[in-house]
Subunit: 332 residues, 2 copies
């Protein structure tokens, strides 16, 4: 299918361009999440896989492989691998965060239970490793198993850092690289590797995914204080869950003694009262923390764009550049 | 080090024979479970890894590789891989079973929390895949990622089968193959594969691990009704957790209407009262279910021994034969 000119959002244009391949990816996902012996597995995964997420990560792998002139067939396996890893981490996040909603539906662990979420997540991780092994490419195996370790490490780091007021912006960045950017950068990097492109291009694809993932997560954390109903996020979720994200880290760094006592009470001690969220928003604005966070998101989007400059010109490259703008469009 | 004649138990003799390699495995485990950025990871894993488990699975990999004349170095990576996968599944089991004790210590999720158990388990899975990727051997990657999928599938199947009185012995066997035997058989099979042995020997190593793992699990399930304090198991844990294991499946198959109602109440409905465990033990004995379970464990140990017959004679082979006797010695 050719580029659908009526679809204006870059990820929709990307999805339209990659429609045939994405059909193969979806077919492979359905085939591999089946389990002859344990019917609960597709029940749990279908809930997530069919829920209509943007499939951004597998699209990045397909786009990256095409951009590099790869003609297949293993980009389909790698895209499915990336989506399986993503889905597995969502299932495990649902357990650990006791979050109530995911993509607007009840989370798997409310419909089923923690046991199912943990074990079906493990099943998807294993399926991901089977899929990537089928490519026979040891370098993509290294990249993706390194990414899986970095993701878990970032999530564990978040456990100890999230409610600690001494958490620095450097630690926040490390958490974000783990929980979000590692899979974005692996998704784009493997496209170049499977295509056998030179090192500088592979590096550029990594850098693009890394910067795109970081800006994506910073925007997400910013919208938690800035969003309206249109963004699909409830303002203050992170605040209520006592998650120290970039806006708060910036506000804490500029806090006087009284403000510090406030942050300590609501985040470290978790003693939250009526009006605390409003006061937090007031402090965030007073210190320009939201604006500073916004500028950082834009800066990472700029870096993503710059990385694309090392790759040969093509329509697909322009589309990935547009995508990095789109990720920050809600706060631009 | 030579065989320590004073250590009479086969797994102790095996540990003594493999002492040097096992030292390398332990070093690799300590090195790879470290995390520069997330100190909670070694805190959680040290708890399990240092707890003095028998290290039976990595010992099987080392023994299998040596038996096949392999001179290294990747049997050490594979043994560490197998132990990481095992430790990760224990961490995830602790979350899902809400079990109170593991190896005589409080479980990780009482000392820390569910979040840490899930995410540190994920980290160990990822570390396992990194380690096996370093071998550069695609066939061992297939075997171990298949095993990981089979383990998760078996655990999910157990979720739905454990409290369902219609669960058959065939389903029980499938669960046991998943949750226990898959890692045993992968542990022995990869030793032969990395050594480049012919297919019939690789198959024999797989069959040995498969049968050993099944007899190991059947004995474990039997001791839950037969054990004393010496076995380190509390009689009735599975009963209280409403797990339909082989002894119960056999008793249910021979139950009259009144007995069936009893099993339905205590297992399916979970309505357990004083004296129910004693009554369950009475029914298990009346129908010879414990004796029949014991005979099955012995039969699987016999099959493990028979599989070794296809391999060239050696002291190590004899030791693995002794090990299959030892696994069932507590019920022989």
């Amino acid at each position: 299918m050719s580029l659908d000119e009526t679809a204006t959002k870059p990820h929709e244009r990307l999805a339209a361009l990659m429609q045939d391949d994405m059909g193969r990816v979806n077919e492979l996902i359905r085939e591999r999440m089946a389990s002859e012996h344990a019917p609960r597995i597709p029940e749990v995964t279908a809930h997530l896989v069919e829920a209509g997420g943007k499939r951004l990560r597998p699209l990045l792998t397909l786009a990256s492989a095409h951009l590099c002139g790869y003609e297949g067939p293993y980009h389909v396996h790698l895209a499915a691998t990336v989506e399986f890893i993503h889905t597995a981490t969502l299932l495990h996040d649902d357990v650990v965060d006791e979050s109530l909603k995911r993509r607007g539906r009840p989370t798997a662990n409310l419909l089923w239970d923690n046991k199912s979420s943990v074990l079906v997540g493990d099943y998807l991780f294993a399926r991901a490793f089977q899929l990537m092994t089928e490519t026979g490419n040891l370098r993509v195996l290294r990249i993706l198993s390194d990414a899986a370790a970095t993701i878990a490490e970032g999530e564990v780091l978040q456990l100890t850092a999230a409610q600690n007021l001494r958490t620095t912006e450097a630690t926040y960045l490390q958490v974000v690289r783990g929980k979000t950017a590692a899979l974005f950068s692996a998704a784009t990097e493997v496209g170049g590797v499977i295509a056998g492109r030179p090192e500088d291009e592979v590096r550029a694809l990594f850098d693009y995914g890394d910067a795109l993932g970081i800006s994506f997560q910073i925007v997400d954390d910013l919208l938690d204080y800035w969003g309206g109903t249109a963004t699909g996020k409830n303002v203050g979720d992170d605040f209520r869950e006592r998650k120290l994200t970039l806006p708060l880290i910036k506000a804490v760094a500029r806090a006087d003694a009284e403000e510090r006592a406030f942050w300590s009470r609501v985040i470290e001690k978790g003693d939250q009262r009526d009006g605390d969220l409003d006061h937090a928003l007031h402090l965030l604005n007073r210190h320009g923390a939201l604006e500073a966070t916004r500028r950082e998101a834009l800066d990472w989007a700029r870096r993503a764009k710059a990385a694309m400059g090392s790759l040969p010109r093509s329509d697909l490259r322009d589309l990935l550049v547009d995508l990095s703008d789109y990720v920050v469009a809600r706060v631009a």
